[in-house]
Amino acid sequence: MIKKTFQIPDMTCTNCAMKIESLEDILAGVKEINASYHKLQMVIEYDETKLTDEQIIAAVKKKGYTAVVK
């Protein structure tokens, strides 16, 4: 398991953070996601053998946001 931080500059409210956190229920290999509208970032703890950065970025994009590795 590793922990990574992604910048998400296009969050506009706390609901966006909630929507991004819902990836927890969708992406395989994710243990926990903590997204913060205040910091415009998400911290994701995941199994790097099951998930790649590109997959995470793509999943975030599907939710309507842009994720950039910090």
Binding site: T12, C13, T14, N15, C16, A17, M18, K19, E21, S22, E24, D25, N34, S36, Y37, H38, L40, K63, G64
Partner: protein, 403 residues
């Protein structure tokens, strides 16, 4: 797509919605400004339970809904703002087709949740009021601080929506993670927390009519009756709240590009109004009314003769203030300095929040009878000083100038 289907999916003419919205808002403002001298909240102690509840409901559906909307509209706007932001983001992400469906369904849900939470919260409050009595009454100072806090919160939120500075993002409350997780898993991603939380918060900023109803609930001395009374009243306020808020949202969806700014402007204005009300209740000379009263002397005109009839019974040398549904008349009283005074507060079928009379500098607070005269002693004041008075919501104001 066939022509038939096309017509079915065509949005309503924006002009119709704009006109309807404007009509509702004008009616709301007119009814709020020109509150009728109705005796709808004068619930007689000996009337039957059912008629008390019916009167409470009718009060809610007439004056209560509009009065509450004027005071608590900001919280509802904040609640809707979250949903609208979410919808707006989805529209950008999924294109125009999804937008028309999303806005329709989503705009009603947060309003409903807000009102549902409000009804539940007030029913519980009614039960508590009936049970505990006056222990839960907020002092004017507490309410003033709360209003100032809410006003600053709303202004900060509006500035956040305008993207003025990253610091304003902190005005948006991030619910605890365990709660968002729970909500997400039970509500399938629907934003229920914000409107429910804000709807429940309205118990801390009751409008004048609500306060009168709360006072009535206090007087019932029964938890069940207090709860039933507040339930009937808030149920009555809900249709007006819902219609005006829903139309306002629909109106906005037609003007999607500008609506985010529109919501921010509304929240900003309501924030300033709330903050200003708080300053009035604090007796601050920095409130809008207290700073500008001298500029609009016409607003300080005495009350019409018929409404100020009881003034004739006031002894010479004493001050008389007519407390009416539309405010205090005259708004500026002149009094001799360095001399104890008696102020006669005269009500005559007064049911608005003007009855909740406050002189912050003297820490004086009194819920006046709907009709009658209440005397208060004012200790000697220095020459050139001013005592500001207001209703407990900071909506109606006035001053006594010592010369």
């Amino acid at each position: 797509m066939s022509n038939k289907q096309k017509n079915k999916n065509e949005p309503i003419n924006p002009m119709i919605i704009i006109v309807l919205g404007v009509v509702f808002i004008v009616i709301a403002v007119a009814m709020f400004v020109f509150q009728p001298n109705s005796n709808s909240i004068n619930i007689a102690a000996d009337s039957s339970t059912m008629s008390q509840l019916m009167v409470a409901f009718i009060t809610g559906i007439t004056t209560g809904g509009l009065s509450c909307l004027a005071v608590q509209g900001g919280l509802l706007a904040s609640s809707l703002a979250h949903q609208i932001e979410q919808d707006y983001t989805e529209q950008i992400t999924h294109g125009k087709k999804a937008k028309q469906i999303a806005v329709r369904t989503n705009s009603a849900l947060p309003i409903f949740l807000f009102l549902f939470a409000k009804v539940i919260a007030y029913t519980l409050l009614g039960a508590l009021l009936g049970f505990v009595g006056s222990y839960l009454t907020f002092s004017p100072m507490t309410r003033a601080m709360l209003m100032i806090f809410i006003g600053i919160f709303m202004i900060g939120n509006a500035l956040r929506m305008f993207n003025v500075h990253p610091i304003f993002r902190y005005f948006s409350i991030e619910p605890p993670k365990f709660l968002t997780r729970y909500i997400r898993r039970t509500a399938k991603g629907t934003d229920t927390f914000t409107p429910v939380f804000l709807g429940a918060l309205t118990i801390f900023i009751p409008c004048g009519v609500t306060q009168a109803m709360m006072a009535t609930a206090l007087g019932t001395g029964s938890a069940a009756m207090g709860a039933a009374l507040m339930l009937a009243f808030t149920l009555g306020t809900s249709p007006v709240f819902f219609i005006v808020a829903y139309l306002a949202t629909e109106l906005g969806s037609k003007l999607e590009k500008f609506f985010m700014r529109f919501v921010a402007v509304v929240v900003l204005i309501l924030g300033f109004v709330t903050l200003n009300g708080g300053l009035n209740v604090l007796g601050s000379p920095l409130s809008f009314e207290n700073m500008t009263r001298g500029l609009f002397p016409s607003l300080s005109r005495p009350a019409p003769v018929a409404e100020s009839a009881p003034q004739a019974q006031i002894p010479a040398g004493e001050l008389a203030l007519n407390v009416q549904n539309g405010g205090y008349f005259p708004a500026t009283l002149k009094a001799p300095a360095d001399k104890d005074l008696t102020l006669n507060l005269i009500t005559n079928q007064t049911y608005s929040c003007a009855r909740d009379f406050v002189i912050p500098a003297l820490n004086y607070y009194q819920l006046l009878p709907d009709t009658g005269t209440v005397q208060m002693m004012i200790p000697a004041q220095k020459k050139g000083s001013t005592l500001f008075f207001t209703c407990s919501m900071g909506m109606y104001t006035g001053q006594i100038v010592f010369e």
